[in-house]
């Protein structure tokens, strides 16, 4: 059962792109960045014209791993112990996207010694040509939604892009490097970088540093693999009370992976 997504409706409506851009930008401004990064914002965002293909494969009961994680630390019979109920459900979804979504971000690296913002280095990133084709699990139980990306699906088009790195100098170098790399998630992505800024027409800026793009890609892939690829998942807790302070959070969107500090384990975090 596949979904027809009316992507062109979203893509052609400029106000939605603007809204998403502003939303992401303000999120980036509010999230706590390391001290040497300044002024990270999204300069451009477009949904593109091609929609992702979403096909629902199965509706089943949630995997026991989810129940184990909900019942962690509790003993049977305790308050909060969850038993499988008939209304718990799990969807196995095949998601494929080979579209022309693009995002451009800009930021600055700063040196705050000997005084604030002594030296600034402006950086621009443009991300295009994102491709992925994976199986996802979305499970609902105990007022929580679990989202995890299970595995990649072989896709001749996406893999073809990576099989001829010699002929294609702009190739994305996304082929898995280690044997039995569990999952790649992102199968193709182009990042264009521009470092530095011209001053009155002089000076050089570095464009399209291949190594930097590879580095960023690897970091991003590692980040996704760590955060959302099975056996990790993202747990959206819907059981908020009316009286509690709202704490809104979400995954970090395409930030450069090396900037994000990692905290350990599977504890509850609310990112603000």
């Amino acid at each position: 059962m596949s979904f027809n997504i009316n992507w062109s409706e979203i893509g052609s409506d400029a106000s939605i792109s603007e809204a998403v851009k502003d939303h992401l930008s303000s999120y980036l401004q509010n999230v706590s960045l390391p001290s040497f990064v300044n002024n990270l914002k999204i300069t451009d965002f477009s949904f593109g014209a091609i929609a992702p293909t979403i096909i629902l494969k199965e509706i089943t009961d949630p995997l026991p791993d989810f129940y184990e994680s909900v019942n962690e630390g509790l003993v049977e019979g305790d308050e909060g112990w969850t038993i499988p109920s008939p209304s718990d459900t799990q969807f196995l979804i095949e998601v494929e996207y080979k579209g022309d979504l693009f995002v451009t971000m800009s930021g600055e690296l700063v040196l705050n010694y000997p005084s604030q913002e002594f030296i600034k280095l402006p950086i621009k990133l443009a991300v295009t040509n994102i491709g992925f084709h994976s199986l996802c699990l979305v499970a609902y139980l105990a007022k929580q939604i679990f989202v995890s990306i299970l595995c990649d699906v072989s896709d001749p088009i996406l893999d073809e892009q990576n099989s001829e790195p010699l002929l294609d100098p702009n190739g994305t170098f996304m082929a898995p490097k280690k044997p039995f790399e569990r999952i790649s998630i992102i199968r193709s992505m182009n990042i264009d970088t521009e470092i530095g800024q011209q001053y009155q027409g002089e000076g050089s800026t570095l464009k399209n540093v291949g190594k930097l793009e590879q580095f960023l890609l690897e970091k991003f892939k590692d980040l996704l693999r760590k955060e959302i690829a099975w056996p990790s998942w993202i747990n959206l807790d819907l059981s908020g009370d009316n009286n509690e302070e709202e704490s809104i959070g979400g995954e970090e969107e395409e930030g450069t992976g090396d900037e994000i500090q990692s905290d350990g384990g599977s504890d509850e975090t609310s990112i603000s």
């Binding site: 979403i54 791993d65 199986l135 039995f180 099975w230 599977s266």
Partner: protein, 545 residues
């Protein structure tokens, strides 16, 4: 220029004052420590990024007493003027990142240029070269002195039109930044209040500047960066207070190296090695992949890899044969074009599209394979990261208060979601009639209308949550989720489940997979070495290409 300096700071003289203070304190603490006369190599650094060579921060005007009377300097050194009319420029010429573990290395090449800077320093020197230090001299060796007064004269040195151009290589490693300067060209006009000394000082200065850029600056910057990164005080290399014989043994392995070594692997390797120190004939057992449980010998590695559970096990035989044929053709056509990064297809862990379309996969098998691969790659101690995010999607009107960025954020979120949900509601999404190899369900297709999934859900305490999603399911599925207690709908759901995912028996590969239970042998990946027989399973020769 690639880097941007803070222009504001250069334009209003605050920066100059700061530099003045710091330079003054740096010069004076230096001159008090080392009893060298007029070592001005540290005073003449016009490049702004390296102008602060010392990390001492207290700025105090020096008093004219001098601890050591051998020094030619009779008072401290005072910096009178500092100015950078032109903002220095740093341009990036090249950037290289090496991501090979364990040490990721960043290499950069920059061009630094600085023009028209000025610097003026002032001090007092002793100009009676015949002055004798009679404090510690016994009286019987002292001649009759007529005059032994000191003659102190002030001296002012002005450096103008300082021009610096250099090409630097920057290396950034885990715990340090090292900069090396090549092609340094430094020019300045020097003016001294004592004209006799002018040419001498200028020559000596220019010679010692070479030393500064080659040796002193890189060392200092490296030490400073280590301090920053590690936060520990690291004794500089040129301090004479360090005892030359350190009792600490030298570490050959770095900490990052140790993280790469797995303790279990080391144990297994040592078992293999010690197993060879024996005259027993046990190792010639022919029916086992390895005689030692848990240890695999290198020559059997290819067999191990081909038996390793990966998602390619869902290939059915027909496509596998075709793949083999295609691969052979490929090898014949392009004999030597394999790049190192291109893995043979059986080692790429992807679920074949055909298996997905024909429903020959098994969800539990997939999760088990992924779990095994995860355990294998992550080592023993890293738990999977499971982020819990509290979402509250109620439409709550918060006052936009700038002092609370969170609430503003909330409003933007709810606004955005309202926008998207209104957009979504106006565009009905028909369910596609093409379902893969599944008997079409007339119930599902008749629903022209579509509804948001779980449009309203009764929770246990009776309150209703309005939740919106980005994609929708047919009405039947929504009903199923709503009516949890309705027994009639349960039978519908079971029917639905049966038709969507018909119970197919997995292919013969599952028989192989059942052999991979957690016996003592290959516990870490689930291969059962007792189930393996020499010659019976298809052995492929090791890949020679």
């Amino acid at each position: 220029m690639s880097f941007q300096f803070n222009e504001q700071m250069f334009k209003d003289n605050s920066f100059n004052d700061t530099i003045k203070q710091r330079l003054t304190s740096a010069l004076n603490s230096f001159s008090k420590k080392n009893n060298l006369s007029h070592e001005s190599s540290s005073s003449n650094t016009p490049s702004s990024s390296s102008s602060n060579t010392s990390s001492s921060s207290s700025a105090s005007i020096p008093i004219s007493h001098e601890t050591n009377s051998l020094s030619i300097l009779k008072s401290g050194i005072v910096v009178r003027k500092v100015n950078f009319p032109t903002i220095p420029q740093i341009e990036i010429l090249d950037l290289d990142i090496q991501t090979t573990q364990p040490r990721s290395l960043l290499k950069g090449m920059c061009k630094i240029s600085c023009k028209d800077a000025t610097l003026q320093i002032q001090t007092i020197i002793e100009s009676n070269l015949l002055l004798l230090n009679l404090e510690e001299q016994p009286v019987f060796t002292t001649p009759r002195m007529i005059n032994n007064n000191s003659f102190q004269i002030p001296i002012t040195m002005t450096f103008t039109k300082i021009q610096l151009e250099a090409i630097t290589n920057i290396f950034m490693k885990d715990h340090g930044v090292s900069i090396s300067f090549n092609d340094v060209s430094l020019n300045f006009d020097f003016d001294c209040s004592i004209k006799i000394l002018q040419s001498t000082i200028e020559k000596r200065l220019k010679n010692s500047m070479k030393l500064v850029f080659e040796d002193i600056l890189p060392t200092v910057i490296f030490n400073m960066s280590q301090n920053w990164f590690t936060g520990k005080s690291h004794p500089p290399a040129n301090q004479k207070l360090i005892q030359p014989n350190n009792s600490h043994p030298r570490m050959i392995l770095e900490e990052s190296d140790l993280q790469e070594l797995s303790a279990t692997n080391m144990l297994r390797l040592s078992t293999i090695i010690s197993s060879r120190h024996t005259l027993s004939l046990h190792s010639t057992e022919i029916h086992s992949l390895s005689t030692i449980p848990g240890c695999l010998e290198r020559q059997n590695l290819y067999r191990f890899i081909s038996k390793m559970p990966s998602l390619t096990c869902f290939d059915n035989c027909a496509s596998k044969l075709q793949q083999q044929r295609e691969k052979q053709q490929e090898i014949m056509e392009r004999p030597s074009r394999r790049k190192n990064s291109h893995l043979p297809s059986h080692q790429i862990n992807q679920l074949p599209q055909s298996a997905l379309d024909e429903h020959t996969y098994n969800l539990e098998t997939i999760t088990n394979i992924q779990n095994h691969l995860y355990e294998r790659s992550k080592g023993d101690h890293i738990a999977p990261r499971r982020r819990k995010v509290k979402l509250n999607l109620k439409k709550k009107k918060t006052n936009t208060n700038k002092s609370l960025p969170e609430s503003k954020f909330t409003e933007i979120t709810t606004q955005l979601e309202n926008e998207i949900s209104t957009e979504a509601r106006t565009t009905p999404v028909p369910v596609s009639k093409e379902s893969h190899d599944v008997t079409p369900q007339p119930d599902v297709e008749d629903d022209g209308k579509s509804k948001t999934m779980v449009s309203s859900r009764k929770s246990s305490n009776g309150s209703v949550h309005n939740e919106t999603r980005y994609f929708k399911l047919p009405k039947r599925a929504a009903k199923y989720l709503n009516n949890s207690n309705n027994s009639s709908s349960n039978s519908i759901t079971t029917d639905m489940i049966k038709t969507i995912s018909p119970p197919l028996s997995p292919l013969s590969l599952s028989k192989n997979y059942r052999d991979y239970d957690n016996s003592k042998g290959f516990n870490f990946i689930g291969l059962n070495h007792h189930g393996w027989r020499w010659g019976i399973n298809e052995d492929q020769p090791p890949p020679y290409s």
